[in-house]
């Protein structure tokens, strides 16, 4: 009887020590959840979610302060992935989904005010004061932040058309229907 108690007590002490050591030794640095959430967000940095960028939105989601369906550029796909990661319910997106687009500056109208450069979160616009400005298309995330500041309304958004570089094979069911 006594031996049994001693063994149990000893076991408890040893295991407790092991657990305590493990919790110190394998402590996770930083907040991995925020990073995981941020990896899902599209990094458009447009602020349409109501936060000043994707990272703050990720932090808000992880803190439970924000819904997961606020990011229009991420689309339903993004909502689904977030729901998957966080074990939350999939909710319809709180805005309409738009095709991916890029901004185009009408170079004839541009007065070179540099306002759009200051608005662009990813430095996708080149130009200098009183010089024509232009957008580096591959860098543009399509966030639309440069459209409003332009005093002569020379920036518009253009959906990215399908081309040989972004073309995808369709889901086979569609193919079969088309062939019939």
């Amino acid at each position: 009887m006594i031996t049994a108690l001693v063994i149990m007590a000893l076991g408890a002490v040893v295991l407790g020590a092991a657990l305590g050591y493990a919790s110190i030794r394998f402590k996770v640095e930083g907040d991995p959840l925020v990073e995981k959430i941020e990896a899902i967000l599209p990094q458009t940095q447009c602020g349409q979610c109501g936060y000043p960028g994707c990272k703050p939105y990720a932090a808000a989601i992880s803190a439970g302060e924000a819904e997961i369906n606020l990011c229009p550029p991420g689309g339903m796909d993004g909502v689904r992935k977030l729901a998957d990661l966080l074990g939350r319910e999939v909710k319809p997106l709180q805005a309409e989904e738009k095709p991916k687009q890029v901004a185009i500056i009408d170079e004839q109208t541009c007065i070179g005010c540099t306002l759009c450069i200051q608005a662009c979160p990813v430095d996708a616009i080149v130009g200098a004061a009183k010089q024509m400005h232009t957008i580096i298309e591959p860098l543009c995330t399509g966030c639309e932040l440069c459209v409003k500041p332009c005093p002569v309304e020379c920036i518009h958004m253009q959906p990215i058309a399908e081309n040989l570089d972004n073309w995808k094979w369709k889901y086979p069911v569609i193919e079969i229907k088309r062939a019939a």
Partner: protein, 580 residues
């Protein structure tokens, strides 16, 4: 001399259907009135156009310069006039357009001055460059720039150079006919590749259902006193897959994660070797290729077709039968349906098959997978197609990658044997392109994030610097004021310090600020006045002419929808004035 052969797993034996198209020798296709030469015909960078509309070109003239190392040049297939450089439907299953050079043939077919080159007299780097600029790419269908495969790996010497004449796809006979008719040139071409790679042994693999080609190649090897081994390999699809042929001839297994050079093997198609020989020994860049025209046509045959010839012109040579319902580019196993007969023949076009409902009956409806395992047995890469199918169908792309979807060569063996008629390859293509697209999006998102963070950091730094500057300036001004006012004594004998103390420090600082602002505004006004004459006034005649020319170009570019985003060259007439 016959090497020991190894087997590869899986594979199927479809009906070959090769005899109809080998009854006649290779014919030279007539010159079409117009050619549409796509600039991007190989894997890698898209060549830049080097000609302009209205320019006269000669046959073999460079019209698209290679962009980067993995890229291959494009040439005019005949002499004539460049009509336009515009978007034209591409040789691609999507039917989307690609930038193409439209040439109106003048019928003279006049060559450029051809320079013959002895590859042994040049450094290997130079030979590789010449091959790139001659547009030599893999003509087996993949169109990978050949010169990029001709650099031996530093650590591993090239043991075997495998020359692929297997041609395992049903219907296709272009390599067969090439070997029968031009064996000697192929064998001479092999010498170039062997020297560039310093390969120890050359193995020429030909499926044993082509005895004439094997005989012709053996004969040529003997005549030229080379020590290449011409090996007949058992006929079984896909014996002509590079990895399968390497396995059969050398016993080496090339994993998906490695390139074959790392194992000391390199593999080229016979037609590629032939064009490399023509490029060096005759100075002829790749301007045509042999295309098998077969299937539901009255006169199946192989044709030497100029690149850029519209498919409809080629198809007409075979006199297709009335019930022809579709055309395939490539073989029936790996090819795709031609979306539009306006698409041109390109370097990757090895075969055009006219199809009819009788020849290719429509696929019976897809049934559920019964997990019979037939697909796994047929797969030459020892994959598990039914698992891949399951995960692709469910769009579970992470799992498909775990099951090595990128090892799949889309050979179609699995779809061929599936008793449930599941279009397995279509599912795999779908999954692969989804994965690629996600990869692209992920990379773009990462780049955007990095740029966003960089910008934020820069803004913070700039703000900190500005604050620091302001603080310094303010401090400097206070000491400036302090020093002179503390020193001299006021005329009435009172120390000036009292004077200074009497003035409240805040109102003093404000006054300084106000004065500074006023001064700045004054400066700005002066500058504005100074800069009043706008840069478009007071121009000399030359500048006016330049501006007019630019405006005219702009108008022209706008009128004709520009093919490329044309950045108007806004040349300021006077040096730019940046900021005020």
């Amino acid at each position: 001399m016959l090497a020991q052969l190894f087997g590869f797993k899986g594979g199927v034996k479809p009906q070959t259907n090769k005899t109809p198209s080998v009854q006649q020798p290779i014919g030279v296709a007539p010159l079409p009135p117009r050619l549409f030469v796509p600039l991007h015909q190989s894997i890698g960078g898209a060549p830049n156009p080097l000609v302009q509309a209205g320019e006269r070109v000669r046959k073999g003239q460079l019209i698209g310069g290679a962009d980067g190392w993995v890229s291959a040049a494009v040439h005019a297939p005949t002499s004539g006039t460049v009509l336009a450089i515009e978007q034209h439907v591409a040789a691609h299953p999507s039917g989307l357009p690609t930038l193409s050079v439209v040439i109106e043939a003048d019928g003279l077919d006049e060559w450029i001055d051809r320079r013959l080159i002895d590859h042994r007299s040049l450094a290997p780097e130079r030979v590789r460059e010449i091959l790139r600029d001659a547009g030599v790419v893999g003509l087996g269908g993949a169109a990978f720039p050949s010169h990029a495969k001709l650099t031996p790996a530093r650590a591993v010497p090239v043991e075997h150079l495998v020359i692929n004449g297997a041609e395992c796809e049903p219907f296709m006979t272009c390599d067969d006919m090439l070997m029968r008719e031009r064996a000697e040139e192929i064998v001479r071409g092999i010498a170039i590749f062997r020297d560039l790679l310093a390969a120890r042994q050359v193995l020429i693999g030909i499926e044993d259902n082509k005895p004439e080609a094997i005989a012709a190649m053996q004969e040529a090897v003997r005549r030229l006193a080379e020590d290449y081994a011409v090996v007949g390999v058992p006929t079984r699809y896909p014996a002509g897959g590079a990895k399968q042929l390497i396995r059969v001839l050398t016993g080496k297994e090339v994993p998906a994660s490695k390139r074959s050079t790392e194992l000391g093997v390199q593999c080229f198609n016979v037609a590629t070797v032939y064009t490399a020989y023509r490029a060096l020994a005759h100075g002829e860049p790749v301007v045509s290729r042999i295309v098998t025209l077969t299937g539901n046509v009255r006169q199946p045959r192989n044709w030497d077709v100029r690149l850029g010839t519209p498919m409809c012109d080629v198809v007409a040579l075979g006199a297709p039968m009335a019930d022809t319902s579709c055309y395939l580019m490539g073989g029936p196993m790996m090819g795709f349906e031609i979306p539009d007969l306006a698409i041109p023949v390109v370097k990757a076009t090895n075969c055009i098959i006219a199809g009819s409902p009788k020849l290719f009956p429509p696929n019976p409806p897809e049934m559920p997978c019964i997990r019979c395992g037939a697909c796994a047995e047929a797969c030459p890469h020892e994959l598990q197609p039914f698992e891949l199918y399951w995960f692709s169908r469910a769009r579970n792309f992470g799992k498909t990658q775990e099951y090595h979807i990128f090892d799949c060569i889309e050979c179609g063996c699995c779809s061929y044997v599936c008793p449930s008629h599941i279009p397995l390859v279509q599912y795999f293509r779908f999954a692969k392109s989804e994965i690629w697209s996600r990869e692209r999006e992920k990379n773009a998102a990462d780049a955007a994030k990095a740029r966003f963070e960089l910008r934020n950091a820069r803004e913070e730094r700039e703000q900190a610097e500005k604050a620091e500057r302001l603080a310094k300036a303010a401090a400097a001004r206070t000491t400036e004021r302090k020093v002179p006012s503390a020193g001299p004594v006021a005329p009435d004998g009172q120390p000036a310090v009292a004077d200074f103390v009497a003035v409240s420090p805040t109102s003093d600082a404000e006054a300084i600020k106000k004065a500074a602002i006023a001064a700045a505004m004054e400066r700005a006004r002066a500058q504005r006045e100074l800069a009043q004459p706008r840069n478009t006034e007071q121009l000399n005649a030359e500048q006016r002419r330049q501006i007019a020319a630019v405006e005219a170009r702009r108008a022209a570019a706008r009128a004709a929808p520009a093919v490329e985003p044309d950045i108007p060259s806004a040349v300021p007439a006077s040096p730019p004035r940046v900021g005020e």
